[in-house]
Subunit: 327 residues, 2 copies
Amino acid sequence: MAATIRDVASAAGVSASTVSRAFTAPDLVGEETRGRVRDAAQRLGYLPNRQASGLITGRTGNIGLVVPDLANPFYTEILKPLQSRARGADYELVLTDSEEDPELEPVLVRRLAGQVDGLILCSPRMSDEQLADLPAGLPIVTMYREVPGRPCVLVDYADGMEQVVRHLVALGHRRIAYVAGPRGSRAGALRREGLQAAIGRSDAELVEIGHHPPHFDGGGAAADPVLASGATAVIAFNDLVALGLLAMFTQRGVRVPAELSVVGCDDVAITAMAGVPLTTVSVPFARAVRNAVDLLLATIAGNDAAPRPTRLPTHLVARGSTGPAPR
Amino acid sequence: MAATIRDVASAAGVSASTVSRAFTAPDLVGEETRGRVRDAAQRLGYLPNRQASGLITGRTGNIGLVVPDLANPFYTEILKPLQSRARGADYELVLTDSEEDPELEPVLVRRLAGQVDGLILCSPRMSDEQLADLPAGLPIVTMYREVPGRPCVLVDYADGMEQVVRHLVALGHRRIAYVAGPRGSRAGALRREGLQAAIGRSDAELVEIGHHPPHFDGGGAAADPVLASGATAVIAFNDLVALGLLAMFTQRGVRVPAELSVVGCDDVAITAMAGVPLTTVSVPFARAVRNAVDLLLATIAGNDAAPRPTRLPTHLVARGSTGPAPR
DNA sequence: AGTGTTGCTGCAAACGTTCCCACAATGTTT
DNA sequence: AAACATTGTGGGAACGTTTGCAGCAACACT
């Protein structure tokens, strides 16, 4: 069916080795020969068979992405830059959803191991032991999560929270609620610590509102407890939760930001599209992904890149959902 | 490094052929032998090498997805069900973004052709000629777009528009604006036709507002022309555009739905999260994807599934952004 | 004239599977 | 008792590449 390297070889009047070299190590073949080979390949529509070459080189040309939930914009946000960077490096992107199941993840990683040269792992819930247990030979870069001995890309949520607290305190808020995300989320722990530290340095107090799923509905469920807490501002685990709060506040007739300020986290694309544009902590998704891919490619290439975590800054984006504390 | 079929073979005291058969055609090998092979494989952590088997069988175990824009929720919406269905059939999902570039798409499809067993193509802008020119041997299912001779999954936008018009007319609207999407979008053409037909059957009139990019900003840009048109209701090309309109209306102090009703299209997840929950035409994404994958798998298996397009119903979801015409 | 050196090319052996064919051993028909 | 199926197994040739090695010009240095 498709043209093979031998078809090209005979069309160009050379051996298969030469054709192979013309593509993989062009400087090893004479200029004139190289031209003939290229022409013949072009004419026959030859594309090298990755499976065959992979069999020899041990490379697949794929990089994998494992995320807990493809329906969560926080994870789809990175898809575009990731795909584009991967393509730039001539890799395909293989996608996997672990369905928020920490038990499933190691299985998926192992299954994927044979089909990718490396992978980017977003795994907020997996335990440290599971993480350490992953196949050592497989290049892995984790995002938003530190793993000893592996390169990883982190985001400075603590500083983001510091900025949020300063922002709110400057607006006169003294009683601030925090709607926590799922129990056991690492990113959540980081945010919380940063938040507590920042609150400690201020003269405001923090009210923590239970654990809620990191979705829109989670925010809805948290709204009434927030109202009951007497806080004048609320910081949500992430933007979806913030949006859920916002929607429920509107339904309850509570005006944002006049009566209550709301802050999200992550700055996923839709926050800017909400009815009340959301004040939120912006995560540099594109930069994070670029870093992750670069680290991964370096690891694949064998440059055991400093497994010192890359830490990226966050910054507060003040939009319409925060304002001066009421009276 | 990793255990090969021969390692398993010698560990189990059989030949490589037998090991292979024990996995790919278990009923061809004796029960007792099969057990020994399975045990040995388990012990050695053997996983068959897909590249090697693919080289023989010509199958990769991957299915590809090509979409024009991974940052558009309309396309990421299908990711979750698609990935899950693919995994169920023991396929991996390979993702590609064509960057809204109809020229790039054929190139990407060809590049992907070698690495997937088939692909799902969302390509609203590609020309019919380009589409017909794709490699005939590659199983392809198109979504939201009809291609002669190929299986495809369509969505009955015309009927959705009919429902929208009836809804609006029933609310007393007689002058309805339509914000068109990008020139050359097939889905757009379908919506428009359905819309015009439905309007024709009613006593309302339609005002078409230029072509705008299918994003939030496109909606923002269309807002003033809509206001100037004197329409009491506006139907947007898609939900993002509707959200953009909504935001700009809020900024202009126009109350929705009291002064102006807004209707989106597609019912992507975020519409329900908007400040004013959006009335929209709901597309059965999960069903559509299930159908597409099933068609694709059938085509891959060689059951040249009736290339009669599958057409799925849409339905209007009336939320808060539509109401009685003013005055 | 001999000895390297350099630049280009071909041969053939891998890589890890699958699958056709052959070949026993056993059971079934005539 | 001969002929033929049936069942389970192994041998070995593919599949389309890459790559170590060897060969062979051509050319430069002693």
